[in-house]
Symmetry: C2
Subunit: 504 residues, 2 copies
């Protein structure tokens, strides 16, 4: 798989912030104006307050004492000072308000856990920009965008909240997060077990590094989703790549393709054709991530079980190239035009052109080096090998930095994490990221929850009438574990103070 | 306690490198010539090989890809590839060869544990200078001198050794260290449990931060040592401060004092008098640290139980000021002139004027902020309060940086470390640093070993015919724990590979 496509994959994964009408990037890079108008609105307005804390730009060096404002949200409607808890969302690569609005699970369980909800924005995303509009200027300004700095921000924020909010001091804190945020939640518990009593890491591909899992698992999982969602579906897609190539070679092929796919900008050369293929691949990947059982609007407005809808157009792989591509257009249209309002498809506009995209592109070029590949045999994509050298050169061109592919494993332990405790790894089997996740129990307190009908962190989403039983069960298990952690915390606090609690 | 004296205290603690004839500072800052001539030589020559590994200057940022050579030593005479282990010394603030020669315990147990010994030099000490002779130039060059960077060096080194030394890959690694090195060993196990199966943290004052322990415990412990080592001993010292002040105020007082104490450079003003007092205080502190049961040469060549010898000169506190000071001179002479070769005492020369001193001074001004105080009631010193503002201002003047006094606790958990496993905290009751150490079991696998007759990390020193029973017992317990960790490691490895080992 080529470099560009790889980056796109990562970006897809990690920049749901794109769903906001004004891309955070533009807001951030222009005026830092706080926009609170979001496309997605839950039916019940979520009540939270917005706060800021001064954080050191560099927790790991003393040459600069510069600080920046990190944004965080607090919702304490159901919080009880007596026997309560604090659920702490370890913000990932996007605007924290967007995550707050898309993590209904926390809101749903707040009352039961007597919990204060805290949503902490990840540095270099949303409004939490260490150098304001210069934050992405060059590798010097980006130097403090690492998972370690983000975890240190979280640690300092929790200490600050415990110190300043009356009643919070002696309460257990649980970290929660999804996707990269899920990795952060797990790593936070591993590195700061004195600060959080446990972590719910949803769809966290902590093993998608180095050669811990084969580089092909991701695209294979995407393919499986399509294979299972309709007869001949993955086969049709598999055939489409050569069909595109053949069509493109014809005299009027580029024009025909541009028209058949209703592209906003016509294709003009072979590079555009590659770009088109990457963009289509990305669309299938996105669909696999958000293959939710109900109408939703995570990366795009979509119908329930969107891959099934897509696959209705891809039942016959043995048609002519031109008919196949017309079917592909119908399929793409499900993703890009569910509203029916879109006039043409824009292949230079990904779902990820946002501030988050910039930040994640840098992170993928430094710490978050996830090898991906496809072989066209076990998956429905064109064969692409993983080439670290090319990847590194591209990173150097983009950001002036080179990736350190073994660093995450050195820092966070790779597969050797059994000495840690109290982490739930939940994964949906439909989610291509589950291939790099923990899907088997490691110990009694490092548990895996697998949701057969779940896509990307479905369990973190709000309760829905169309939720499959498997996700209801998963959520109920997660709550049970969290209650146990809370109970254990109060029991140990009681011991320390010579009293016994019967809370949680 | 004033700023200067505080820094001295810290330096004393942490710079045994001063015992080398050529201060590492001079070597490092001039020619980087490798001197292997050390004053201290064990009776049996220790066989080790010297190696270097390229380390990133900054593990936590990607703006620079600069590397430096970290030195480490390997001794594998007793190492067995079959069922063996790796004992890894987490180097602290000094030349690693000096630590290697002063950690006889590792050499004594190597055969029993079939162990390879590795001694890793701490960055910015000895030869492991990230910027060569510029390493201490300014806060920009010093920016990478932190405990986190040092631990990351260790982690990468161990991964490298496992990758490159045939037979090392599937062996358990145990971290060992004393003093600041003991803190590093403990923190290493806490942060990198996937890399080391356990840690022996000897005389590691991990709680000498913030207000975890009262700031006075240290000087109180020093005082107790003197109180117990001879009648009226601490009382004589307690009286000496006022005596010095009174004598200094007399017309010819400064001259008299300079002569009575055989000072190389006569005192000329009241600042000199304060300097004298600090220097004397430091001497008593040093003696408390190295109050070993046999002749030794850790900070200085000294007789067995040196405080007892010192106290023979300090039996009568009710003598005249001048007689008291003459006695104080005799006492100081035990420390500074056990060899009988010294013509005068040099109060501007501390036992700590070394490269280590520079590095530690910076570390004490950044992460390693240890509050100290004395009140003259519970201890034999002049009253000095802990004043963070003054401390910070002094640090800014010295290094252009300001300390972050709560960082270490945020990072490493302070007292809340019970979720970790397999750490032995050993402390000698004679050692003033034991006040900030872990002296009670926290859990079954976070155990404290207290050595009533031990000074500063006596247990890490080589076996000696004059060792008290308590240290023999401590070492035997330590070996038992380490054997258990090794056994557990092989058992879990066996499970993984479907075979059972019966090793260690």
């Amino acid at each position: 798989m080529g470099r560009r496509s790889l980056l796109l994959l990562l970006l897809v994964f990690l920049t749901p912030g794109a769903a906001t009408p004004v891309p955070p990037a533009l807001r951030a890079l222009s005026s830092l104006h706080i926009s609170t108008s979001f496309k997605y609105r839950p039916t019940v307005a979520l009540e939270y307050s917005i706060h800021y804390i001064q954080q050191k730009v560099d927790h790991f060096g003393f040459n600069t004492d510069k600080t920046f404002k990190q944004r965080y949200l607090i919702a304490d409607r159901h919080w009880k000072k007596d026997g309560g808890s604090i659920l702490f969302y370890t913000g990932n690569e996007g605007d924290i308000i967007w995550f707050c609005n898309n993590t209904g699970f926390m809101w749903d369980v707040a009352e039961e856990l007597k919990a204060m909800l805290v949503f902490a924005e990840h540095r270099y995303y949303g409004e939490s920009l260490p150098f304001g509009s210069n934050s992405f200027k060059d590798s010097k300004h980006l130097n403090f965008l690492t998972s370690e700095q983000a975890l240190a921000d979280f640690a300092k924020l929790i200490k600050y909240l415990k110190r300043t909010i009356p009643g919070a001091k002696n309460q257990p804190v649980i970290a929660l997060g999804g996707s990269y945020g899920g990795m952060l939640a797990a790593w936070f518990r591993m590195k700061y077990p004195h600060i959080v009593v446990g972590a719910l890491a949803s769809s966290a591909p902590i093993w998608q590094f180095e050669n811990i899992v084969p580089c092909g698992v991701f695209m294979k999982a995407v393919t499986t989703d399509f294979r299972k969602s309709g007869p001949n579906c993955s086969e049709s897609i598999h055939r489409s790549w050569d069909a595109i190539s053949r069509l493109a070679k014809k005299g009027t092929g580029l024009r025909w393709l541009s028209e058949a796919l209703h592209l906003c900008t016509p294709l003009t050369n072979s590079q555009d054709v590659q770009h088109l293929k990457d963009w289509i691949s990305e669309t299938w990947v996105n669909l696999a991530m958000v293959d939710y059982p109900y109408e939703s609007n995570f990366l795009q407005p979509l119908p329930a079980w969107p891959i099934k809808v897509v696959c209705q157009y891809l039942k016959n792989p043995s048609v002519s190239d031109s008919l196949l591509l017309q079917n592909i257009f119908q399929a793409l249209n499900v993703y890009y035009n569910y509203s029916g309002q879109v006039r043409c498809l824009n292949i230079s506009e990904t779902a990820t052109s946002s501030l988050g995209a910039q930040g994640w592109s840098y992170q993928a070029c430094t710490e978050m080096v996830m090898p991906f590949c496809s072989n066209g045999i076990d998956d429905m994509f064109e064969p692409r090998s993983w080439n670290l050298k090319d990847y590194s050169d591209e990173c150097f061109k983009l950001w002036g930095v080179r990736p350190r592919p073994s660093w995450i494993t050195t820092m966070y332990g790779g597969k050797n994490i059994s000495s840690h405790t109290n982490i739930i790894f939940s994964n949906g089997e439909l989610d291509p990221w589950s291939g790099g996740g923990v899907t088997k129990n490691i110990t009694d307190t490092l548990v895996a929850i697998v949701i057969p009908d779940g896509a990307h962190h479905l369990d973190l989403r709000a309760n829905n009438a169309f939720d499959p039983t498997s996700v209801l069960l998963a959520r109920s298990l997660e709550v049970r574990h969290m209650k146990q952690w809370i109970k254990d915390f109060y029991a140990s606090l009681g011991k320390k103070h010579g009293i016994w609690w019967d809370k949680g």
